[in-house]
Symmetry: D2
Subunit: 347 residues, 4 copies
């Protein structure tokens, strides 16, 4: 092995931070040099995540204490709204992979409208590349700052972008009914995420108002070559990990569900982390748990002229930390699957 890639993780106390550590532990080229967590600074990582006790990791520091110039890559796993100012201060040569929403929306006015305040680093926003690896690999390869997609957009865009691009489905009638485990909300300590509030039940949330909607629309509009709006209806599921998006689509012209499956199959044929299932097979989040894999299935609808496209991912892996590492690999011209070859864990 040549010199290791020196890595810093900002916001290591969140679930995506811990998942980055778990996955990077298996990356042969990576070495974690800095872990920040401002509230827990001074503590060892295993004080925050006891499952990592046996790893040899640097203690947590504040982000102000970190020496960015000694790093090759910084992963920002900070809460939304807090990455911008910090990224703005990072040295130019540092490769930055941001897992927050801060650099996803290209239009800063749209950002301000959905996130409730002006963007604090619009000049870095201009250079940020949207990091859905399979759909934007070339640009990611040249990027200094990659904005990793939200977990829902990752699944929905993998399912829908190639279909809009190919003209297989109508852009004006996209209904995205989504389901996520609780880690999609991070390690936020709020009543609504208590075990007793989530267990043994299901409910929708943020119907018509979720911040992942404009993000999907931005990217789907690019694929469609026209302004696209979507229905996006997420639901909270009593499980830790996993995300499933059920996309109800109207077929263009006389396209069939088989055409949808074929378009997706061809598009992802060479992709190591996207699996388009054969007819009759059903995606399940269990099939991808703990791995960077996305699984897509296509079903004919009883309604003529429609189809159902279902995508399953692990929200912490392909939906955030796994894809972030995949992007790092692309940015550094490493083999894209490095550190991401874990098989799914079932049961």
């Amino acid at each position: 092995m040549s010199d290791p890639i020196r890595i810093g993780i900002l916001g290591a106390s969140g679930y995506t931070g811990a998942e980055l550590v778990r996955l990077l532990a298996g990356h042969p080229d990576a070495q974690i040099r800095v872990l920040t967590a401002n509230q827990q600074a001074g503590q060892p990582m295993h004080a925050v995540y006891p499952h990592l006790r046996s790893m040899d990791l640097p203690d947590l520091v504040t982000w102000e204490e970190a020496d960015w110039s000694a790093l090759d890559v910084a992963f920002c796993a900070l809460p939304h709204g807090t990455s911008q100012a910090i990224v703005a201060q990072m040295p130019a040569g540092l490769k930055v992979v941001d897992l927050s929403a801060d650099f996803r929306l290209r239009d800063v006015d749209t950002y301000a409208a959905w996130y409730g305040k002006a963007h604090q680093a619009p000049e870095r926003q201009r250079d940020a590349v949207y990091g859905l690896t399979e759909l934007n690999r070339t640009a990611i390869g040249h990027a200094g700052l990659v904005a990793c997609p939200g977990c829902y957009p990752t699944a929905a865009l993998l399912a829908l972008s190639p279909l809009l691009d190919a003209g297989t489905v109508e852009p004006g009638d996209l209904i995205i009914d989504a389901k996520s485990g609780v880690t999609g909300a991070g390690r936020k300590v709020t009543q609504g995420l208590l075990f007793a509030e989530v267990g043994e039940g299901i409910h929708p949330y943020g119907v018509g108002k979720h911040r992942h909607a404009p993000e999907m629309e931005q990217e789907l509009s690019l694929a469609a070559g026209a302004d696209v709006r979507v229905n996006f209806t997420p639901h909270l599921i009593p499980m830790n990990r996993g995300e499933l998006v059920t996309c109800h689509v109207r077929l263009a012209g006389d396209a069939t569900a088989g055409d949808v499956r074929r378009v997706l199959g061809e598009r992802y044929d060479a992709e190591p982390f996207v699996r388009v299932l054969p007819e009759g097979a059903t995606p399940a989040t269990r099939n991808v748990r703990g791995s960077n894999m996305a699984e897509i299935g296509v079903f004919p609808d009883r309604l003529p002229g429609r189809a159902v496209v279902v995508a399953a991912i692990d929200n912490l892996a392909k939906g955030s930390s796994g894809q972030a590492i995949q992007n790092m690999n692309v940015m550094l011209a490493l083999h894209e699957t490095r550190g991401l070859e874990l098989q799914p864990m079932f049961p």
Copy 2:
């Protein structure tokens, strides 16, 4: 109290059978006289359901041993396809509430097509009344045989029928994305229902092919006054009880989500078991767990001209055994809420 209503439950070893017993325990007029379970005949009910050990219940017998003439009401909680022949042999005066699918489809050809064999009691089918209480109360009041709706149709029809009836939504674009806990599948001992196969994951099943689709279409067509087809996409959720249907609808003319809420609110204003939520409130299966209540919420869609209508029920209560008792109450001209006044259990 006058003479008790003498009740028999066929198929007491399934979950809907056990739920009937639990609910009837609190019904002041009911007395369980017969419990059948052919495979466990001879055993006490608590051998099959230890949680009922403290109840004073008759031992399990085969259905052939039961004396129907000594009963006022028979609940059939048998597997699909097995009620027909048994009901055909019951005495004419016995009130029958069937929880299976056997008498739900009015058209016996449709039945044969979806259930894979000819109907065995077409003459009784002709007199069967579809038992969604709120939508068919008068006919149920005169019925000798009531076919209780499937759990998914119960929730979907409560949400959609009044809207089609009032012309508030378009009948040609109904997308019903549904989610259910595992008891919706009964106590079937199959690999797919093992804890380790269901826990920590979600997946769709029966997409475009589920038998509840023609049942919904039959009733929605009645409400719309025209043939209706629906998309129906169910998902299995890692929880015991609860069912949520997320209906994505296209609004008719210039109707709004507010109109949808108003139509439903007026329709169910006097109903004890349907609760239309005010704007901003979100249905959740937890809010109805263990009770006969249905909860409906309406949301504007980001897609213009569309809305999202969400209904939540407990699949074992309002979705089967609770509604069955509600129907019995109507058939016998009892107060409709008798035995069904349990508040939801949360957490």
Copy 3:
């Protein structure tokens, strides 16, 4: 029905408060007149607990606003340490059922040692009666202030007290290995109770240091007629409700597991809410979920001279709110099962 019993619930925003409301809804003599929740005062109860939306309940007020003189019974479901001062100000004639730990320990020094501060109402403590109904019924019948046991002590004392009283087990070797669902910790918003922290795992907590240990020891010492100490090792289980205590006991003299079962069986023969299982039957929390029932099973040990006694309860019902209502019934000379006749809910 004569005049209803006018009830106030202090601390209605916690899980035990909500459970009191659920159970009292089925109590034919009870009428809830006051619900306090200082942080949510002014809101309707369904803002805090949407599952109670269809009940006709008074809005939440602060406890300072409540008119105690217009009530017959006050249930205190406040956090530990906050009941004392409030109870001290209540009018003498008001029957008080306290669900907190504030009045459980007779010795105020022991209280101070375990709860970290001096007792604030020692004069009321002197008159408080320990409210494990089956073991203390007569005193409860004359009490003005009843201190309901903790959930773990309820299960452990039901299993062990009669055995110490009868001299069937040795008092010096009591090992209580306990398991509880998350609602045992209340609705506290802490990281350790998040779904993602609790789901799919188990761990012990408070080993050798849990505050329920001195409470058990106080009551077991009474039963044994000598000072008793116990091992108490609780574990957190990924479920909402339910508590199981596995008591590993040394048999006195040549007593057998059969003797243990017989002693318990005779002791609880006439009790409506304690079920001693026959040989070979296994207690399970599912068998008592949502009900006020306790279920006890006895097993021979492979170690000669030992036995295993297992008790299962619903921590929110018999373990707190159910037993509180049972105590109220005893205090007011009502039939003890009023409002508590709900059958367990399974699945």
Copy 4:
């Protein structure tokens, strides 16, 4: 890499079979050549385990079809009682790692008594080595046939054997209160393992009669140098993976909990897969999920002269398939951690 180790897995359709495949996928020296599953022979592995769809694996065959002479190692993940006859027919040079109970009990009469039939390969039993790696490494290194411990014995022996060996705890008073997720029972399709039967509840099973008791006693007797009997009380927990044993021990002489921690700490200091926690830290199954790690914590007891020793493992990893690979590594003189370096997955 030199020639790969050619591996066959018998009984690939069970959970331990699937876990072997998952873990071996990350073993740089291993190559899976044969997967048997007699009932699913002819199908691809992903027909049985869809999460392995992207792996390049041989199709399932019957064990009779497998060519053992072309393999270096055979893992037997067959149901108890079926390995014996098959192993008896294997070529002498083939290294066999058996995950079933078939070769664990050295005394064939004890085997017959607990498993209900005579051992079918007593001559191979004589050469079988008990495969708790940390406690038996040298013998495993020379073995041709290794009998991997049961999941419960793995955790219990790691916690207790060094203490008996060192004389720190009394051998006559060992109480092992254990808790396991459902995969401990394998992929058996039985009513008791359905989601709806297991979810939201806890119960003990096999109290005083579980087959892991004689296995623990065999090994603990070796450590103690005297006949040892144990209390063993397992409980079923609503989670997929994870096993926790809570050992209630009597300290020898004037030993303390600190001595217990020190003895264990020294014993496992150099072990890569056993982590003895510092004072105050609590073992949790979440901390080892998906990994081969065992975590042990020690607590003082309130009862004088006693302590509580708690061990947590993943039953499918260190409790079966992980330890099986660890044993293979030892048998083949590979680095012991090969293929087992996965960090735990949390959440």
